[in-house]
């Protein structure tokens, strides 16, 4: 406090900018407010307000014949979410999002471990670029490319045929629930495409978590007589959980909201994202679309609270 009075007292005449700077210095709270108001306004107006207006719209009534929205308030849209056909959509999406998250974590862990603990210099740079490179191309291009790769007369089938694994593929495709007519119209195909597209989002957080793991802990574990498996179970894995949880936030929420991949690859039947798109974009039923958008919002909120317990945000 003495510093303030000293600074402002010394010059007799100050420029306007200087006086303003003094003013800010004397009132740190005002200074903070000045810096925070624009981003808070942005958040409030663009994120929160649009979300609230969406939720408000979900209470409007939709007239099926003229396809217009009337402002009569109703909860019918929410009860309709639990109609069998609509509930199917929710379950279908959530199951896929969970499966993709688990499988991505399994694939990502070894890659991330190698990147964090073994790769150095050029190898490390190569791995970083290899993981990030797919993210430089448009996501739609990649999804379309996969429709051709997975087509019955496409590269994947040709390759499988070349390896003489046709019977294995047919066996997989015949499994009810995950199979289908061809790879590009089956749930397995869709699952692969999702995993491919979101995998980098899983590798990077796990890699970051593993890099923070002190090597001394591993040495201590070995000194105390633990074999590698035990070290993994009791030291490495628990310390990597925040990274896995952080990665799964990406894979889970991105799969939950996606509407391009389900449209291009996989069996008939809508996903949450495509249902919102159909309701809003094709039918113009904004209230129903808004009700459907609430589903991922709630699911993600639940998921985040679970992940918080696992410590994904402790390192923030």
């Amino acid at each position: 406090m003495t510093a303030i009075s000293g600074a402002s007292a010394s010059p007799a005449v100050r420029s306007a900018a200087g006086r303003f700077a003094d003013f800010l210095y004397r009132r740190p709270n005002f200074y903070l407010l000045l810096l925070l108001v624009p981003p808070l306004l942005w958040f409030g107006a663009v994120y929160i307000a649009s979300l609230l207006s969406l939720l408000w719209q979900s209470l409007y009534t939709f007239d099926d014949f003229t396809m217009t929205v009337s402002h009569t308030l109703t909860l019918a849209n929410y009860t309709q979410l639990f109609d069998a056909a609509n509930f199917d959509i929710i379950v279908r999406t959530v199951v896929m999002a969970l499966a993709v998250s688990v499988f991505s974590a399994m694939l990502a862990f070894p890659v991330a471990y190698y990147m964090a603990r073994y790769a150095t210099g050029r190898t490390k740079a190569f791995f970083y670029i290899a993981v990030m490179l797919p993210m430089w191309t448009s996501y739609i291009v990649k999804a379309y490319a996969w429709t051709l790769l997975l087509a019955k007369e496409g590269v994947t089938s040709w390759f499988i045929h070349g390896l003489g694994l046709d019977a294995v593929l047919q066996f997989l495709l015949d499994i009810p629930g995950i199979g289908g007519n061809t790879l590009s119209t089956s749930n397995i195909g869709r699952f692969f495409v999702f995993t491919y597209i979101w995998l980098p989002f899983m590798i990077l957080p796990i890699q970051a978590a593993l890099e923070r793991l002190p090597p001394s802990l591993l040495q201590a574990s070995a000194d105390l007589g633990a074999n590698p498996l035990r070290t993994f179970r009791h030291v490495i894995f628990p310390l990597a959980i925040p990274g896995i949880a952080a990665g799964s936030i990406f894979t889970f929420s991105l799969t939950l909201g996606d509407y391009i991949v389900p449209q291009l690859v996989g069996p008939p039947g809508l996903f949450l994202g495509s249902m919102v798109y159909v309701q809003q974009g094709a039918i113009g039923n904004m209230p129903m679309a808004a009700a459907f958008t609430l589903v991922p919002v709630v699911l993600i909120a639940v998921y985040l609270s679970m992940v918080k317990k696992l410590g994904a945000f402790d390192a923030l």
Binding site: D64, M67, G180, N181, G269, V278
Partner: protein, 384 residues
């Protein structure tokens, strides 16, 4: 206090300009606004970009100075939704969209005095119920045609004569089942295709009009569609994806538009189309003008242009459709003299044109309405 006033003035100005848009129909076509925005089916408004021979936009732009902007839509629901958002001048609405647009006040009546060639329009279309309400004409007929059965000629040496190949499990001429090798359209209006099939094969249901179904008929139709779900490779939505599926995915039969069949045949793919014995659903499209069309003069210019015989004939050849102007059938190089007959000019009576199913219906008093069609079709596509 200056700010609220400013906002109020802006709002008032916006309201006033909105009000001036919705003025009554034009009395006289004035100078063009330099632009016209059209919502259309894919392939309807061609400027020679896909094939240089098919171009009916460049000349219009040169004559009138109205630049044509096209927004393509894949389903009628999408068209209604786009028009509800506003900002477009014209829409090529099929019968299952046109009445919804009229009753929803999205489109305005057309002043027929400004359509110079109105008398040349096919008499069967002039007063068609899908665009004429209470004696007022809400659009100018554009083109019509059947939804055809597209099939692979390597598998079918002779054209399949029934829609059975897409509705019921059967062995195809190549000795394999049709399971996983057929497609259906991903729009609720496809329920009418199934109803049309049952009209011929289950006469005891007494279906007269496939768009007017009572509870019992509707249940039987849904049953058929649920069975069909097992056979379906994919519900097609995007015409590009359907074409790719015929080429790369081993799909051999599907309801389709002549447009895709023509494109695939032009690529020398083993594909042909046919008009099965049960008849077919079809579309009869009308160019309608938005209530708040921002470029009304250019819109009227396009309406006049849209029924010139040259355009009508070229479009018919391109889309595999039938012109709304019979004069277009003669002397068109691209269509040929047989073109109209091939595309179904004489089948008008056998085509069940798309229209919106309503709860109150002519043939049996009370029917299942379109909202339930939408809901149930989404459920069926989801396997329920």
């Amino acid at each position: 206090m200056a700010k609220p006033n400013l906002i109020l003035t802006t709002l008032a100005a916006a309201v006033m300009s909105a009000a001036s848009y919705s003025a009554a129909a034009l009395e006289k076509i004035g100078p063009g606004e330099g632009r016209v925005d059209i919502v259309a089916w894919a392939g309807y408004i061609e400027r020679g970009e896909t094939d240089p021979a098919f171009d009916w936009v460049t000349e219009f732009e040169k004559n009138t100075g109205c630049m044509v902007n096209v927004k393509t839509a894949a389903t009628s629901d999408e068209m209604v939704s786009l028009m509800a958002k506003g900002g477009y001048d014209l829409v090529t609405a099929s019968g299952d969209a046109s009445l919804r647009l009229i009753y929803g006040n999205r489109v305005q009546p057309i002043n027929l005095d400004l359509i110079k060639a109105w008398e040349s329009v096919d008499e069967r279309l002039q007063n068609a119920p899908w665009h004429t309400v209470a004696g007022k004409h809400y659009g100018v007929p554009f083109e019509w045609g059947p939804n055809v059965l597209m099939y692979n000629t390597d598998v079918f040496k002779t054209a399949p004569d029934s829609w059975k190949v897409v509705f019921e499990e059967m062995t195809l001429p190549d000795g394999k089942s049709n399971k996983g090798r057929v497609q259906a359209y991903d729009g609720p209006i496809y329920i009418a295709d199934a109803a049309l099939y049952l009209k011929a094969h289950k006469p005891e249901l007494g279906i007269i009009d496939p768009y007017e179904l009572n509870e019992e008929q509707y249940a039987a139709v849904l049953e058929l569609l649920r069975g069909q779900h097992e056979l379906i490779h994919r519900y097609w939505h995007d015409y590009n994806v359907q074409m790719s599926d015929f080429k790369n995915e081993g799909v051999v039969a599907s309801s389709s538009w002549p447009f895709m069949a023509n494109l695939l045949m032009a690529e020398n793919q083993p594909v042909a189309m046919t008009f099965p014995q049960e008849g077919a659903t079809g579309w009869a499209d009308t160019t309608m003008m938005a209530t708040d069309a921002p470029h009304p003069n250019c819109a009227y210019e396009w309406l006049n242009w849209s029924i010139t015989p040259k355009l009508q004939g070229d479009l018919a050849a391109w889309f595999g459709a039938v012109p709304a102007v019979p004069a277009a059938c003669k002397g068109n190089e691209l269509l040929g003299d047989e073109g109209c007959a091939t595309n179904g000019f004489d089948n008008f009576e056998d085509v069940y044109f798309w229209k919106t199913p309503t709860a109150k219906c002519e043939t049996q008093g009370s029917c299942v309405s379109y909202s339930r069609w939408t809901r149930d079709y989404i459920a069926i596509m989801g396997g329920r």
